[in-house]
Symmetry: C2
Subunit: 255 residues, 2 copies
C-alpha cells in the first residue's frame, strides 16, 4: 500500500511509524513547515514536501493528521484524488472529505500521543468510518494491520467518544495538575497520590464508575466540603471549580 | 499491642484487618449499629459493642475510624483514656483528640477503600501526626508494621493532601462516570476509553501533569470547544462544567 501522510504532529508521527512497521510504503510527508516534514520523512525514509502542489497524486491512501481547522483549507487546495482520503480527527465529520472525494474515511485513534512517549499502537482503539463499502473494507484492512482494536463508529458516536476522551483524559490530567500544585505549596510530593490514582482507575475499570463514587460530595459531608472551600479561599476560581464538581456529583447521584 | 477500633466502615475494616495481620490484638469493636460492629468483630474474632459505656478502657491504642462529625460527639462521651487515641480522618485536625487526651495522634491512610475491593495495605501511604514524641514513636512503630510508606505530615499538610485526593480521586472518578454516561447514550462501551485512561495516568506519573496537558483547551482550539458545548447543549449543567474546566486549563497554562 502506497501512503501519503499530511501532517507531522504527534498523531501523524505515531500513526505513520505504525503503518511503516506493518509493511506499508510511506511515499511522502507533507507539512506546511518543511523542517517538520523533513524530520518525520527522515524517520520514514521518504520524500518531504511543504508545497501542496507537489503532492504525489498516485498514492492508494492519504492520511490527514492535521489540526481540524487545517483539514478544510487543505482539502480545498487539493485536486481530485483517486486514492482513499482519510482524516484522523475525533471532532470532525466524514463529510469534509466525502463531499469532494469518492473514497473517504475517518480513522480516529482513541489515545493521547506525546512526542516523548512511545505508544504500542496494537492496543490503541481505532474507530473507523468510510463513505462506501469498498472504502470501509480497505480501511478495516489497514487499521487491523496496526491495531487489535478496530471498531466502526459513525460521526455522532465519534463526537461522543471525542468529548468523553476530553473528560477522561484532558480534564483528569488537569485535576492531577491542580492536585500537584496544592501539594507543592505544602512541600509534599505528588507521588504520595500515586496509589490513590492507580486504585481510582482500577476501580473504574472493575465497576461502572458511577457505582463506586466516594468522597465528601457522595456522602453529602457538608463540613468537609466547607473546609475544602475555605482552604481554596472563598470566591477564588479554584473554589468555584470545586463547588461545580461537587454539585455535579450530587446531581448525578440524585438522578 | 491491644487495640480498640471505633467504627465499622471501609477504613475501619481495612485498617483493623491490616493491624490484626501484623500481629496486634484487636480486643473490641464499637459501632453505633450493633450488627455492623458484630460483622467486623466476627472477622477480627473479638468483642463487639454499640454502647460506648462498655468501652474497654485498658487498651494501648484506640482507632477512631468514624465520620468526621461523629469523632467530636464520640470524644465528648468518652472518659479519659490512658492509651493513645488516634483518628484516621484527612480533613480533621489532631486537636479534637489532643484537647482531651495526653497521647493523641492521626493516621491518615491516603487511599480510597471500598467494601468490594481488597487493598494491599503495604502500599498505602500512611500520613501520621502525634501530640508528643513518645506518641509519635508509638504511631510510627505501628504504622510501619502495616505499610511501607509512613510519613509525618502536620494538620495543614494533611488538609492539602485530603483536598488533593478529592481532586485526583473523587472528581476524576466523576469525570469517568460522566464519560461513561455519554458513551452509553451512543451505545458505545466505556472500555474503549481504558487505554486512554491508562496512558493519561502513566504520563502523569512520568512527568509533572501540568507539562503533559493535551486537548482542545490546551491548544485553544475554539472550534472543537464549541462543538463539545453544542453537543452537551448550551445552558445545560454539563456544558457549564465543561466550560469551567476548559477555562481552568487555559488559566493554568497562562499562569
Amino acid at each position: 500500500m502506497k501512503i501519503v501522510i499530511l501532517g507531522s504532529g504527534n498523531v501523524a508521527t505515531h500513526l505513520s511509524l505504525a503503518l511503516l512497521r506493518a509493511g506499508n510504503s510511506i511515499i511522502q510527508v507533507f507539512s506546511r513547515d518543511i523542517s517538520h516534514a523533513a524530520n518525520l520523512a527522515a524517520k520514514l525514509k521518504c520524500e518531504s514536501i511543504s508545497d501542496i502542489e507537489k503532492l504525489n497524486c498516485h498514492a492508494d491512501l492519504y492520511f490527514f493528521s492535521v489540526s481540524d481547522d487545517a483539514i478544510t483549507t487543505l482539502v480545498s487546495s487539493l485536486p481530485y484524488l483517486e486514492g482513499m482520503v482519510v482524516h484522523t480527527s475525533g471532532a470532525t465529520g466524514i463529510d469534509v472529505l466525502s463531499a469532494k472525494f469518492k473514497s473517504a474515511g475517518v480513522l480516529y485513534p482513541l489515545q493521547t500521543f506525546s512526542a516523548k512517549r512511545d505508544i504500542d499502537f496494537k492496543n490503541v482503539p481505532l474507530l473507523i468510518e468510510a463513505s462506501n463499502q469498498e472504502s470501509e473494507d480497505l480501511l478495516v484492512h489497514i487499521a487491523s494491520s496496526i491495531s487489535l482494536h478496530v471498531q466502526k463508529v459513525n460521526s455522532a458516536g465519534r463526537s461522543a467518544l471525542h468529548l468523553a476522551a476530553v473528560l477522561a483524559c484532558n480534564f483528569t490530567n488537569h485535576l492531577y495538575a491542580l492536585a500537584a500544585e496544592l501539594l507543592e505549596k505544602e512541600s509534599l510530593s505528588f507521588n504520595l497520590l500515586y496509589p490513590l490514582m492507580e486504585e481510582t482507575l482500577a476501580k473504574a475499570k472493575a465497576y461502572p464508575p458511577a457505582t463506586v463514587q466516594t468522597g465528601p460530595a457522595r456522602r453529602l459531608d457538608i463540613n468537609t466540603i466547607n473546609k475544602h472551600i475555605d482552604y481554596l479561599g472563598k470566591d477564588t476560581f479554584e473554589a468555584s471549580l470545586y463547588i461545580l464538581l461537587t454539585d455535579s456529583i450530587i446531581r448525578f447521584n440524585t438522578k
